[in-house]
């Protein structure tokens, strides 16, 4: 019986010839991630193990990104806890302020996750790395603690949904519109416990940044992971983003430090959806669920108080490029706050060199150092009572960005930037673009 791409990676990770949906397996992990919210809980749990220490100091990534740079004393204590653990255990991939970025933009950029890897992270958006052909999934702090100590995690092998993407998206239509369209179609539990496997000739038109955005939000459909085939574009990305130890291993052995898996022709899928990307319009998710989607021509007249452009979903260079193209020579609407957050230091620097940051500041936006900040209502842009925000982030739950009566509208960088100019939810067409 054929296996899906995710099942093949899991079979390899469990040391098995084959696996089938529903099998319970113990998999060996290539990377275990935790952040400043979930990491300290894991670290406290690790004290309870009879086994001491970590399984492999090169296969753990610790990223203080959520409430860091430290937003208050408690956050500072949590970051300190992680820092001390990282030093005590000589963790290679601990990213201090100055090197850190939003974890799911940072890890692929730094090449510490790659095609064929099995990755768990104590953060639900760990599913992002499916964009480069890894099986990666979010877990809680106890799973991450076991991962850090033993290098293992238990999984129920998932069945899968297949999304055949065809055609070329129209200008300004990006990965965010595609994934919001899909979540609107199947619902926030439409992929519950399942893999979302993307395929089809439309993938060639999607940049790596588009794919990261799509895989990132698999969890918003309840998915266990989202995964893309590894094509030439993905290989080019992987080979130009290799960690120092992977590069050294490659030069020493000549063996490529990644493995490309493909779904079997006869793999079984619970459902197959065909989506013609050329028909998609800019899509916005209304409060308070990512499945409450409307196309831009159906949003009506919704005035806003804030725009956030950033996060693990849409804080990458191409997202900033799109926003800069729209904001170039234009001004932020009067009374609106616009917050731009490049996801990593590298993206920050690249955006600076490309002139995007100047464009944002001249338009009247602010630019922040990398942080998850406002996405989860941490800091750097909390909403007051009844305020509305257009955000390129991933969740619009009640109270997610601040007051329980505030509202979040999820959208692409293009819609966020156009809305920043008009002061209401708008697509680039409203600016004549």
């Amino acid at each position: 019986m054929g296996m899906t791409m995710s099942q093949k990676i899991l079979a390899h990770a469990a040391g098995l010839e084959s696996v089938a949906a529903g099998d319970l397996i113990m998999a060996n992990l290539d990377m275990v991630l935790a952040n400043d919210i979930t990491g300290p809980v894991s670290i406290h749990e690790m004290d309870k193990f009879t086994k001491k220490g970590v399984f492999d100091k090169n296969k753990i990534a610790l990223v203080p990104d959520h409430f860091s740079p430290n937003k208050d004393i408690k956050s500072a204590q949590n970051c300190k806890c992680m820092r001390e653990f990282a030093y005590d255990n000589d963790i290679t991939h601990f990213y201090e302020v100055g090197q850190m970025g939003i974890e799911h933009a940072l890890l692929p950029e730094q090449g510490v996750v790659t095609a064929g890897d099995t990755v768990i992270g104590a953060d639900s958006h760990t599913c992002t790395y499916g964009a480069i052909g890894a099986f990666s999934t979010g877990v809680g702090s106890t799973d991450a603690a076991v991962g850090m100590a033993y290098g293992k995690a238990w999984f129920k092998v998932p069945s899968a949904l297949k999304f055949v993407l065809t055609g070329k998206p129209a200008p300004w239509i990006s990965g965010k519109d595609i994934i919001l369209h899909i979540i609107g179609m199947i619902g926030v539990d439409g992929a519950l416990y399942k893999s979302m496997e993307f395929t089809g000739d439309g993938i060639q038109y999607l940049s790596m940044d588009d794919r990261f955005t799509i895989a990132n939000m698999a969890i918003e459909a309840g998915g266990k992971n989202g995964i893309f085939p590894v094509d030439n574009k993905a290989v080019a990305y992987i080979e130009s983003h290799m960690s120092p130890e992977k590069k050294a291993q490659y030069e020493k052995t000549g063996k490529k430090p990644y493995t490309i898996y493909e779904a079997d022709e006869d793999a079984i899928y619970d459902e197959t959806y065909v989506i013609d990307l050329s028909t998609l319009k800019s899509t916005v998710a209304f409060p308070h669920l990512p499945e409450n989607t409307r196309t831009i021509d159906q949003v009506g007249d919704i005035k806003i108080d804030q725009v956030v452009i950033g996060s693990c979903t849409n804080g990458r260079l191409e997202d900033l490029e799109i926003a800069a193209k729209i904001l170039e020579g234009r001004k932020v609407a009067k009374g609106l706050r616009v917050i731009v957050i490049p996801a990593t230091q590298q993206i920050y620097m690249d955006a600076m060199e490309a002139g995007y940051l100047k464009t944002f500041i001249e338009a009247g936006a602010i630019v922040s150092t990398p942080t998850c900040g406002p996405c989860l209502g941490g800091y750097m842009g909390i909403l007051a009572e009844n305020e509305r925000c257009v955000s390129t982030t991933n969740r619009n739950f009640v109270g997610r960005m601040g007051h329980v009566t505030s509202e979040i509208y999820l959208a692409s960088p293009a819609v966020a930037a156009a809305s920043a100019v008009t002061g209401k939810i708008s697509g680039p067409a409203e600016l004549g673009l």
């Binding site: 193990f49 949590n78 926030v188 989860l376 209502g377 941490g378």
Partner: protein, 162 residues
């Protein structure tokens, strides 16, 4: 093992941001988290909840963030079990890993109302609604998960492995 208590009832897609809002996540202490449990969806919950009480919700309970703080807060608030039609997968793992009993049961999720008095027999999976004098059968866990639960969570389970 049995649990008995009164029901707090919620709808579909109760997310971990409303179970424990991120503004409290700098706290890692379970009792501290419990003081804010469910506050954005049910501000009265923390004042009313009694040891042994039961949360019953509809589908996709615990969706969103992977924060283990959510089942930690529920457990530390005294809740003895969460019943739902379905659970989001990370919440499901976290609950089992930390020893918060959960049961998937569509009939119970549909029929049980707020304030009903419920008795749960974890060995048989039978949920008995004393208020309505009705019983429901919850879905049994696969053997591996029963082992995890029996060990008292994932950490004890791993400590017992050779």
């Amino acid at each position: 093992m049995k649990a008995c208590g009164h029901v707090f009832k919620y709808g579909d897609n109760v997310d971990t941001d409303v179970i424990i809002p991120a503004r409290h996540l700098a706290t890692t202490d379970a009792k501290g988290l419990a003081q804010h449990c469910m506050e954005d969806i049910d501000p009265d919950f923390v004042n009313k909840v009694q040891p042994g009480d039961i949360i019953v919700a509809r589908k996709n309970f615990g969706c969103g963030s992977s924060r283990e703080h959510a089942p930690m807060a529920i457990k530390a608030s005294g809740v003895s079990c969460v019943i739902a039609e379905t659970f989001a997968r990370i919440f499901y793992r976290n609950a089992i890993n930390i020893g918060l009993p959960i049961i998937e049961c569509r009939e119970a999720s549909e029929d049980i109302e707020a304030g009903d008095e419920i008795e749960i027999d974890f060995d048989s999976g039978i949920i008995y609604n004393k208020t309505k004098d009705t019983s429901y059968k919850g879905q049994a866990f696969p053997p591996f998960m029963q082992e995890l639960i029996g060990a008292g969570g994932l950490i004890n389970y791993m400590n017992q492995q050779k």
